[in-house]
């Protein structure tokens, strides 16, 4: 069943607000008229016949007079609401009889058709409905046929639902600024829960969670303006799991010390469609994205987020397109990484272990070849050496320029053991370094 609400001299927003209280599927048909889909609301609102009265009374409470019609046909309900006053119920299959008394002007025909109908003496829905369809179409075209179908109450269509602009923002201002994360957790959890419920009610999830904390002004004491802490979390895939979001936020907040008490909290979430994926039957298990994000946050709590150069301490490594040795960056790790086309596997080969930072050393040369290398406070004899392999780069930028002569050397260690190392001469600084060990 469908309901139509018609009211004059009130804002469409108020009309829609009233309609949304009775059904999530509402069409803003025209100024002053809205249509509701009442399908599935019987258990909540009672029989359809009664819903019209409920809507009428609610409109009264909101301060306007509404004409409400409940019918099985949305168009029939719409035109009946425009023509009848008060509350009307049109039983199924009786649309034609009920609408028969309405004036054809309610259909808002074009001036030409209106004039023709007037010349024919057609004034009501019933008279228009009684005309034979084929001759009517021959004289008035498809528009005439459409109007007749409406007059007979037999047309069927879907509602074009009005999706209200939903803002997914929640905020709370504390009466007294709070100083502990525990106090914040209650409000943060509640607001996050509310937002996630709103998202879930619209079958949405969030791909971006923004937390804004307004700190108390210390202007009088420190001369600083209000401080704002803002952080954005981007879950690996859209989620509406409030518990997961709260855990993620708290793991990061625990690492932060605020300079002032918190006086206001604001949460903004960006809605997006949830993404359902299914793993392959024959693909090995991968870390669950939400669980992995929590694990990564915990790992960051143990090892720290970034090193002194600003490189992340945990993530997926990526070699840079550079000839400079040990050029890499660390990207966020994700278990939903797309499969890459890899080159064919190579034969097992000798790997290098790096010393970060490189070990400064001194080297004794015989001719131009290393003879002794000082490593861990002892001079080690060079058994074999391969080099020098010269390389340089960034000559156009003095702060990044590098120039080195590399040697791969076999050193005689204690107890006669032989170990392989890579050493190099930094030609800009004129110093020797141990870059790494072959292992």
């Amino acid at each position: 069943m469908f309901a139509a609400i018609h009211a004059t001299d009130i804002s469409q927003t108020l009309l829609l607000e009233c309609a949304h209280e009775f059904s999530p599927c509402v069409e803003s048909t025209a100024p002053g008229i809205v249509l509701l889909d009442l399908y599935g609301t019987e258990r909540l609102l009672g029989p359809s016949r009664e819903v019209g009265k409920q809507i009428y009374l609610r409109a009264k409470e909101l301060g306007f007079d509404a004409h409400v019609v409940v019918a099985a046909n949305p168009d029939a309900a719409q035109y009946a609401a425009l023509g009848f006053k008060g509350v009307t119920f049109i039983p199924r299959e009786q649309e034609r009889q009920k609408l028969a008394e309405l004036s054809v002007n309610v259909l808002s025909p074009s001036p030409e058709i209106s004039e023709t109908l007037e010349n024919w003496g057609i004034q009501t829905f019933g008279e228009l409905a009684a005309l034979p369809s084929i001759p009517l179409t021959q004289r008035l075209g498809q528009e005439g046929l459409r109007l007749q179908k409406l007059a007979r109450g037999g047309s069927q269509r879907f509602l074009v639902a009005d999706e209200p602009e939903e803002s997914y923002v929640a905020e709370f201002e504390f009466d007294d600024p709070i100083e502990t994360i525990e106090s914040l957790s209650f409000i943060l959890s509640r607001l996050t829960q509310e937002l996630c419920e709103r998202l879930a009610s619209r079958a949405l999830a969030t791909s971006e969670f923004r937390l804004i904390l307004e700190l108390e002004s210390y202007q009088l004491r420190t001369g600083k303006d209000d401080q704002i802490y803002e952080h954005v979390w981007k879950p690996p895939r859209p989620t509406s799991d409030a518990k997961f979001l709260c855990r993620l936020v708290f793991l990061d907040l625990n690492e932060i010390t605020f300079e002032a008490p918190i006086k206001k909290i604001r949460i903004e979430v960006v809605p997006s469609r949830p993404r359902a994926t299914q793993g392959g039957l024959f693909v090995p298990a991968s870390p669950e994205p939400e669980k992995l994000e929590i694990t990564l946050a915990r790992i960051r709590g143990v090892v720290g987020s970034v090193d002194e150069n600003g490189t992340a301490c945990a993530g997926s490594p990526q070699t840079l397109d550079s000839h400079k040795p040990d050029s890499f960056r660390v990207q966020p790790f994700s278990s939903v990484a797309p499969k890459q086309d890899l080159p064919p596997p190579v034969k097992p080969s000798l790997a290098l272990r790096l010393f970060r930072p490189e070990l400064e050393s001194s080297v004794e040369l015989t001719g131009d070849r290393p003879h002794f290398v000082k490593l861990w406070k002892k001079h080690r004899r060079v058994v074999s050496a391969s080099g020098p392999w010269s390389s340089s780069g960034y000559w156009w930028n003095q702060s990044f320029t590098w120039m080195r002569d590399e040697w791969d050397v076999a050193l005689k260690m204690s107890k006669g053991k032989i170990e392989l190392y890579r050493i190099y001469l930094d030609r800009l600084r004129g110093k020797w370094f141990v870059h790494g060990a072959f292992d």
Binding site: L292, V303, G304, D307, A314, P317, D326, P338, K339, L352
Partner: protein, 230 residues
């Protein structure tokens, strides 16, 4: 004997599982990609703790990571001393997008790097979903590694048993003793220099411990690791 049977029956009546034999589950394994080692050990066991020690351990580890990531396993490397060379890994064939690299001791955290590495390894195993969790403890002094409590190894072995993860420790020498499901010891045999170039390093592989069966100690295959420019 009838007397022993009667006692046994009486005990079992009260404690049904008193004489039940605990069978360890069959271990699946991940190949290392080095045929000599795979033939000897049938790979690195999943749901068990393994140790790779000696010279060439990093090369074996990277080969394992390359093989595992190519099988679409997600792997984690807990780098206690930040010595992982991304270029070497890429050359060997590790899919870096499937590798989580955790660099310990790089920021101003209170915990020492060794402690960080153990905690991170614990988190990764508990988190689940990783095919291989490798912990690199190579560059620590023996004195420090000797201080690791046996209970630590026992706990790791116990925890990893419940997960489909191969836990691999890279160390100068084995420390986990009976907690390890597989211990590989690699020793340098020789290296080949071709003129002015280091060509390859030959290693001898010894299986110190396996869980399934006693390894024949006389079999010590040699593995040749080529230099990356070959």
């Amino acid at each position: 004997m009838p007397f022993a049977c009667a006692i046994r029956a009486q005990v079992e009546a009260h404690i049904p599982s008193a004489f039940a034999v605990y069978r360890r589950p069959e271990f699946k394994s991940i190949q290392t990609g080095i045929s000599e080692i795979d033939q000897l050990t049938s790979g690195i066991p999943i749901s068990a703790l393994s140790e790779i020690c000696g010279v060439g351990k990093t090369s074996v580890l990277l080969s394992l990571l390359a093989y595992a990531t190519r099988q679409e396993h997600y792997c984690a490397l807990v780098d206690a001393k930040d010595s992982f060379d991304t270029a070497s890994a890429q050359n060997i064939g590790v899919d870096l997008t499937h590798l989580l690299w955790v660099r310990c001791g790089k920021s101003k955290q209170e915990l020492p790097p060794l402690e960080q590495a153990f905690r991170v390894a614990d988190l990764l195993i508990q988190g689940g979903g990783f095919g291989v969790v490798a912990v690199d403890l190579s560059n620590f002094s023996e004195r420090l590694l000797n201080k690791i409590q046996p209970a630590t190894w026992f706990r790791f072995a116990h925890v990893v048993e419940k997960h489909k993860t191969a836990l691999v420790f890279i160390e100068p020498r084995p420390y986990a003793t009976s907690c390890a499901g597989l211990v590989l010891n690699l020793t340098r045999k020789s290296e080949t220099w071709q003129g002015n170039l280091l060509e390859n390093l030959t290693l001898e592989v010894e299986v110190v411990r396996t869980r399934d069966k006693k390894s024949p100690h006389s079999v010590r295959p040699e593995v040749s690791l080529q230099a990356q420019w070959m």
